[in-house]
């Protein structure tokens, strides 16, 4: 692994640790309002400053990491389950099964995803669970295509014929032999997908239809910061940097995995 991959892994690992140990790392309660200290710039008592309600920005960022990573992991987890299953079925069974699944993927790819998510969120209520499910349900197509392509080449290999010859069921062949051997490129896609999901969540929250205040997420901190941009630059700088660095980390890690396979 090269240095950039380690760097990516370091960033990803750092934010995961921050998210897990948020209550120990955050110096203040992220919801604690302090009217006397509204919009104070970064200082020794509030290292990232405070927001327009006097809440400690650093503590909110730390808890926001939890939300961002959770949305990233679970949304991509949902996408991976759908994508791997449909891709494997399409690739293995071929013929009309493949044709139907591939056309469905083409249809899904036609929609501008972000605006589809916007429309769905407008109809449902914007909750964290809804956001995760919707991001997952609209981002599985790339994984499915990769999976299908891998399976198409793997299923003609002799060891798969050997499995059939010893009487293995289709389910066993797909789940125990094809999918594990096809995971490498899918893993890259999953890693990059986490970055994408974090970005979408931030975008939605920034627009005010993602994670709802007072629950802190990097996106809605940014959104609150936008209102006081002139008076509190730190409200936009730190969450923006956090999103930027996290996405960079996942992208570097994904590229690193790709090069190593």
């Amino acid at each position: 692994m090269n240095k950039l991959t380690w760097f990516g892994l370091g960033i990803v690992g750092f934010f995961i640790i921050v998210a897990i140990f948020a209550p120990m790392i955050a110096p203040y309660n992220p919801g604690q309002i302090d009217i006397e200290n509204i919009l104070t710039p970064p200082s020794s008592s509030h290292i990232f400053g405070t927001d327009s309600l006097g809440r400690d920005l650093f503590s909110r960022m730390v808890y926001g990491a939890r939300i961002s990573l959770m949305v990233g992991f679970i949304a991509v987890g949902i996408a991976a389950i759908i994508g791997i299953a449909l891709g494997a079925i399409a690739g293995y069974y071929g013929k009309w099964v493949d044709a139907i699944i591939m056309r469905f993927i083409d249809i899904m790819l036609c929609f501008p995803t972000f605006f589809l998510i916007l429309a769905v969120i407008a109809l449902l209520e914007p909750s964290i669970i809804n956001i995760m499910v919707i991001i997952g349900a609209t981002s599985w197509m790339g994984i499915a295509r990769l999976m299908r392509a891998e399976i198409l080449s793997l299923k003609e290999r002799d060891f798969i014929y050997a499995e059939r010859a010893i009487g293995a069921s289709d389910l066993r062949i797909i789940a125990r032999h094809l999918i594990p051997n096809a995971m490498a490129p899918v893993l890259v896609s999953i890693t990059l997908g986490i970055a994408g999901a974090i970005l979408v969540e931030s975008g939605l929250s920034f627009l005010g239809i993602g994670v709802q205040p007072p629950t802190p997420s990097w996106g809605n901190i940014l959104s609150e910061g936008k209102a006081v941009m002139g008076a509190g630059w730190w409200m936009m700088l730190f969450p923006g940097l956090a999103i930027f660095i996290t996405v960079l980390g996942y992208n570097l890690l994904g590229e690193g995995i790709r090069e190593n396979y």
Binding site: A162, R164, A165, A168, S169
Partner: protein, 251 residues
């Protein structure tokens, strides 16, 4: 006793517009080693896969002990697979690269439940010893094995179902010359000991001549000649067979 009877088997690959197997008919008798010889790409491996229903034939019938394999239920077919096995040409491609050797064998027992859970491990070791490997191989991956060792694992896997009939699809042609002889000897010894029936596919007449009771010659999807060792080697009828003989290094 007639073990397998193949009637008029056809297979065309539409994408490539090739008729890979063009009306094959023959019988295989219990306990014999039937040789199938022909140049690369003449349809030998396709025929092997058709017989085991690893790919589906367009037309024809395959009778195994009177049962038509092309017209039985999926469930029956999976049970019948126990009796019909195959050893592949390329031992690098025929093992799951992520699966440990012990698991390769245990999976067969897991599917067919022909060995109780308790005996699986000892049976696996016993089988590995039968093919000249041993307990130390249980936890190794295919990538840690040589070509000859992998082919032995392939043979062990085929034997794990306790089959009657094994198709050997060029089992030695991708191995070193010295290893070829070892694997051939192992196959012959197993055939004698377990009274197995082989369909032995090869493009190497030397190999075919040394182990087969009967020989069939195949060219572009058709059988053009068949007979005993004497018929084919001493008195070939077809020009193609003569060309094959001339191009072979025979002892």
């Amino acid at each position: 006793m007639e073990l397998l009877k193949i009637n008029n088997l056809y297979k065309t690959f539409k994408k490539h517009r090739v008729c890979a197997v063009d009306g094959a008919s023959f019988s295989i008798f219990k306990g014999e080693v039937l040789g199938l010889v022909g140049e690369s790409g003449c349809g030998k491996s396709t025929l092997a896969k058709l017989i085991l229903r690893l790919i589906d034939a367009d037309k024809g019938s395959i009778f195994y002990k009177g049962k038509d394999l092309l017209n039985i239920s999926r469930n029956d077919m999976r049970k019948t697979r126990k009796d019909l096995q195959i050893i592949f040409q390329d031992p690098y491609a025929s093992l799951d690269p992520r699966m440990k050797i012990g698991k390769v064998i245990e999976e067969v027992y897991d599917i067919h439940k022909n060995v109780s859970e308790r005996d699986r491990k000892s049976k696996t070791i016993e089988l590995l010893e039968t093919v000249g490997l041993g307990e130390t191989y249980l936890n190794r991956l295919p990538s840690e094995l040589s070509g000859g060792e992998r082919q032995r694992v392939g043979i062990a896997r085929a034997l794990a179902t306790d089959p009657e009939f094994i198709i050997c699809d060029e089992p030695v042609s991708s191995l070193d010359i010295s290893v070829q002889a070892q694997i051939l000897n192992l196959l012959i010894e197993l055939q004698k000991r377990k009274n197995l029936t082989y369909l032995f596919i090869s493009h190497d007449l030397g190999v075919i001549g040394s182990i087969c009771d009967r020989i069939m010659v195949m060219q572009s999807g058709r059988f053009i000649e068949s007979g005993s060792y004497e018929d084919i080697f001493k008195n070939p009828q077809c020009q193609y067979t003569r060309t094959l003989l001339e191009s072979a290094f025979l002892p």
